[in-house]
Amino acid sequence: MSDVFDLKNFPGKRALQKKPINNLEWALIADGVPLAEVYDVLDTDAGKDRAFAKLATIKSDVIWWTEGAVPPQLMADGEAVFGTGYNGRWFSAIAEEKQPFAMLWDGQVLDIDGWAVSAKGQNIDEVMKFVKFATDTQRLADQAKFISYGPARKSSGPMVSKHATLGIDMAPHMPTTYADQGFLTNFAWWADNGDEMNERFAAWLLQ
């Protein structure tokens, strides 16, 4: 993953998301901070400065994206040599559209989606039954037939099968297969520091 920050051996543009979240963590990891200590370092003023300083080393070679469809497009057009993005998008670019990219799972960020049910809604019992169904072991494994996301349940892991139309084995394309190489976003830290970091990031982009 540190190669993304290595302009000397890997020159070219990098497509990164125009947000501080994940980028600050990656900057620290590339700067030598172990995965487990990233948020402890980031919680200090010196750590924040260090993350921004590391990002600054590649700032002039970054194309900042905001829409998830953009980074695979930038790579396909030859505009960028590295890109960060949602792994499902990369999967469709690589497996479905046969683009000559490869995944780098090292330092991947695991994100979790959740279901929210409005307490004042109608048919809440039915909705809860649906949520229970949609999140059971088999269903989460089935989801991987269509896109390389999930499964959030550990028990679903062995049940991940082949892609519905491409017929390829999905296990090597699942982020959960490489979970030990990545880390889970510390949502509490970002809830507290998101406002400040977003402003600082926006100001940093303007400098």
Binding site: F52, W64, D192, N193, D195, A203, L206
Partner: protein, 420 residues
């Protein structure tokens, strides 16, 4: 004086009523009809424009969170002098408010509000809310201080106390890169967080540049449109209108394909040997891209008013100037151009005001140095959900446009503006 001529008798209408009353009646009918005709538009504007603007402007000063969701703490803090941590009664009130707020799942709103002014208070409030549910009896101070380390900081209490007030200028301070420091004094924002001032300036600078470029590009086109024979000018008009009728998003995306470093324009440059292959020009995802794409999109708003004004200038004026001895340049500058000023004014104010609020094009092609203040407003509306700050930024933008408009009216005069 018809009355005197007829010996003081009233002039009667055909149906026998006095003419004056009959006229008034007819006029009143017309007035009511006119009023009814504009009512749908007025109602539409009221609900889709005026009320939302008033609402967003109100949000930019509204500070209901702490006062409404922590009423007991607000009352208990009223006499706090701010010199040391508050005493037991304040903590007792706080625990009670936290319990009520946590049960109703409303306390997070307080945390979100306070976090704008001091990072870390969001999780302090939400986690303390959960912990407060287990507190059955005092001493409360001791228990609260154990819930989160930030309760021990005096500045936490300064922030809470300040936001017990029902209204705040905090969002406006944020919008002009100022803040309250730990002692509650208003100071400039930390250097590494100052963005909005720069973005406002950049927005005005880019809008001005686009307006000037549009005038320069549109003037000759409009002149041709107004003076060429009809069959040529109609064709030219279609070239102006076709892009005007094309979707904004399509045109913006087309510019990306044209300008990107592996794009059409750079390919042509490389083909003709103007630039080398590994040294392609960066024409997009920066300010250049924003200016090019926005100029193209806004050009018709300059061409059309200019054209309609130029169309009304009789060609005989120029001929007269020439026959009276002016050389073509003098005749153009002193006779033709002054007559087009109203069109330049109208086109400029249209283009300038449209570009100040432009959002989607800079977001797509602006990269980092080509994004405008509207992109930050959109960010706070859609992503950070800090609507107070979005409202403050929007209000500042609105007021500065109004100020510019008044200035324009003072210098040029709005009556001199013609759209054709």
């Amino acid at each position: 004086m018809a009355n005197e001529n007829t010996g003081g008798e009233l002039v009667l209408a055909a149906d026998g009523t006095p003419l004056k009353a009959s006229l008034n009646k007819a006029m009143r009918k017309n007035r009511i009809r006119a009023l009814l005709l504009v009512t749908p538009l007025f109602v539409f504007i009221l609900f889709s424009f005026l009320i939302p603007i008033v609402d967003m402007t109100f949000r930019s000063v509204d500070n209901w969170h702490v006062g409404t969701l922590m009423p007991k703490t607000t009352a208990a803090l009223a006499d706090w002098d701010g010199k040391a941590l508050p005493d037991e009664p304040v903590f007792a009130a706080l625990v009670e408010d936290l319990q009520v707020g946590a049960k109703a799942r409303e306390i997070g709103k307080v945390g979100t509000r306070l976090n704008y002014e001091k990072s870390g208070l969001r999780s302090m409030i939400t986690s303390s809310g959960r912990k407060a549910l287990k507190v059955k009896e005092g001493p409360y101070k001791e228990k609260v201080l154990k819930m989160h380390k930030k309760w021990k900081e005096l500045s936490t209490w300064t922030v809470i106390k300040r936001n017990t007030a029902p209204f705040t200028i905090g969002y406006y301070l944020n919008a002009v890169d100022m803040k309250y420091d730990d002692n509650g004094e208003i100071v400039r924002q930390n250097e590494n967080r100052r963005i909005y001032g720069k973005l406002f300036l950049r927005t005005f600078a880019i809008s001005l540049a686009i307006t000037v470029i549009c005038v320069i590009l549109a003037y000759p086109i409009s002149y041709l449109l107004a003076t060429l024979p009809l069959r040529y000018s109609n064709l030219l008009m279609i070239f102006v209108l076709l892009p005007f009728w094309t979707s904004l998003l399509v045109r913006t995306t087309a510019w990306i394909a044209m300008l990107q470093s592996q794009g059409v324009l750079n390919d042509l440059f490389v083909f003709f040997g103007l630039v080398s292959d590994d040294n392609r020009l960066q024409l997009i995802h920066n300010m250049t891209g924003t200016i090019i794409a926005m100029t193209h999109i806004l050009l018709p708003f300059m061409v059309l008013p200019l054209y309609s004004v130029m169309k009304t200038i009789p060609p005989s004026y120029m001929r007269a100037a020439l026959s009276l001895g002016a050389n073509p340049l003098v005749a153009f500058v002193r006779v033709y151009m002054p007559q087009t000023l109203s069109g330049i004014g109208a086109g400029s104010i249209l283009v300038f005001i449209l570009s100040i609020g432009y959002y989607i094009t800079p977001a797509l092609v602006g990269g980092t140095d080509g994004t405008l203040i509207s992109n930050q407003i959109a960010y706070h509306m859609q992503s950070s959900l800090n609507w107070g700050l979005a409202g403050a930024l929007g209000a500042l933008l609105l007021f500065s446009v109004l100020a510019l408009y008044l200035l324009y009216n003072k210098i040029v005069g709005i009556d001199n503006m013609r759209l054709g």
